[in-house]
Amino acid sequence: MINATEYEERRGRLLAMMDSNSVMVLFSGVEKISSADETYPFEVNRNFYYLTGIDQPDSALILVNSYGEMKDFLFISPYDERKEKWYGKRLTPEEASKISGIQNVQVIDSLSAKMDEILNPSMYIFGEIRKLYLDLDREIKIGEETTTLDEKKIAEATYHDVVVSDAYPLITTLRLRKSTREIAELRSAIEFTKVGLYSVWSNARIGVHEYELADLFAKVVNDLNGYQGLAFSTIMASGVHAATLHYPKPLGSLADGDLLLCDLGARSHYYCADVSRTIPVNGKFSELQRTVYEIVLNCNKLIATKAKPGVTIASLQEAAIDYLANACLAKGFIENKEDITRYYFHGVSHFIGLDTHDPYLSPIRGDYRDIKLEPGMVISDEPGLYMAEHQLGVRIEDDLLITNDGCEVLTKNIVKEVEDIENALSSKMR
């Protein structure tokens, strides 16, 4: 578990990246409407969470760089007897302070008052502050109809001297390199995933529906992590369904001779595991399945040997394409190397952390594929081949922690060799 000292350290490092005499405001977000008056389960904004550890809606963080000195304020929703009766307990200021390490905790209604004191030239309580950082992700809602993008426009119109910048790239730069405690969280998430995945395997019999296995995975994970849920919607795809990358409705049933592709992950305090394994439903790979599987497996291992400091995800992708194309050419699946795009059409790696794709950088914010890997970063290693005409899709995905001289495969305990999988399926597990 990440403690208050680490949250303080994170805020300190962020402060050093901010311009002198500037202020940052981050919001936890609010519950979003799914339909009519129903809301989706609340998901806290990860940048806010990364800096505070606070996991509840209607909260905000103000971070002021006042001549290099840090002032931080946390705002949470006030005690409301009726709301508590309906929606359960919220954190008290004392609890919020203990989690985040922020001494100054106030009710959210006083956020505007504090901002006025900071940005209004007639007050300027922390000196002349003309730069405001906001997380300009369009998905952050402050109210039902207000986003941080609206806040930007309003702030610029209200305080004419203030320039608004995007806080997202600063925070994601920090989030890329994981601390020891963060890596421990990822290891827990991977351990939960492993137990869940093995439960799936021991129940993956002919005739079972894909969704039953997806549900089983969720249940086992929730038992283990205390109902913290999954990193993302489980992909449980058998036979030709596995040729659809994000196969959405797992209504199919497992058939003799099918492969089953499981792409899934548990989470631990929002840190995500992201693992894929592909197994034969009847316990034995056919010759064709084994050929395809081994191409993917060797590519997966190749990427793990190449992932090290200084390398980019873009170069790993090139290596993966090159390997898969040559291997498919040699086995006669394709006639030209370029045709590999028919069977392999996604990226081989992405960063992993508080989000499954962490950080998510849209093209306007820069491409994550060109970031040079550094020790402490965690990426996925997930080559695949998808051949609808052969009724199969194979993906093998590990999570790699970049070390000083290479990488550690965090998911190394989840078996992936052909013999290991066949042994596992034949004996103890079922």
Partner: protein, 216 residues
């Protein structure tokens, strides 16, 4: 024919229609039978069944649930097992005479063991319904302006000190970097208020139909 006892409400009746400001109930006991008038706002005719269900849940196992209901051109009534035209008809007639709209008025009866006879029964239903109409709170529909504005906190403080209920309401307040809120009320008064708030940024300006409570 003028229904007996309607004079009091005629003082209230004017040219325009009245709408229930909030649900209302009253009760009368005649020869051991309980008569409970329940008036509920009814914004669309589709809600009639669910409104009746609400009443039946609140007063379960009553002998009869006669009612009259109006939503604009839509009118409905039911005697619910009482003699024909003894209950639903007088209730609906009252709603028309008193020019009230968008409501369901149901008179729940728990039979007390003594029959009232048709004339007295009809009179009782009318009296209980009228009692409810006379005592309920009514509102009129008015054209309102809703202006969504954003303003720094200091200006918001000034606004909350000067703004009174007479001018309208402040809705949907969000305390972000600035305070964002909606002023709802009389267009002219809101415009005057905005002049005193040069810092405010107007985000949206709309007209809508609102309800204003009538004083008794």
């Amino acid at each position: 024919m003028r229904a007996k006892g309607t004079f009091q409400f005629y003082n209230l009746c004017m040219a325009s229609l009245r709408y229930l400001a909030k649900p209302f109930e009253c009760e009368k006991i005649v020869l051991g039978s309980r008569f409970i008038a329940v008036a509920l706002p009814l914004e669309q005719k589709e809600d009639l069944t669910s409104c009746l269900e609400t009443i039946k849940t609140r007063y379960p196992k009553a002998t009869h649930y006669p009612y009259g209901a109006r939503v604009g051109a839509f009118e409905a009534r039911s005697d619910d097992g009482e003699p024909s035209r003894s209950s639903g008809y007088p209730i609906l007639t009252l709603l028309q005479q008193c020019q009230v709209d968008e409501l369901l008025l149901c008179v729940v009866r728990y039979f007390g063991g003594t029959k009232l006879g048709l004339p007295r029964l009809t009179r009782t239903y009318r009296e209980v319904a009228l009692e409810a109409i006379n005592q309920a709170d009514w509102a009129e529909k008015i054209e309102e302006t809703a202006v969504r504005i954003s303003l720094p906190y200091a200006a918001y403080e000034r606004l909350s000190r000067s703004w009174t209920e007479k001018e309208g309401t402040i809705e949907n307040i969000i305390y972000g970097i600035s305070v964002t809120l909606t002023l709802v009320g009389n267009d002219k008064l809101i415009r005057q208020t905005l002049i005193t708030l040069p810092e405010a940024i107007v985000l949206e300006h709309t007209s809508r139909v609102g309800k204003r409570r009538l004083s008794r």
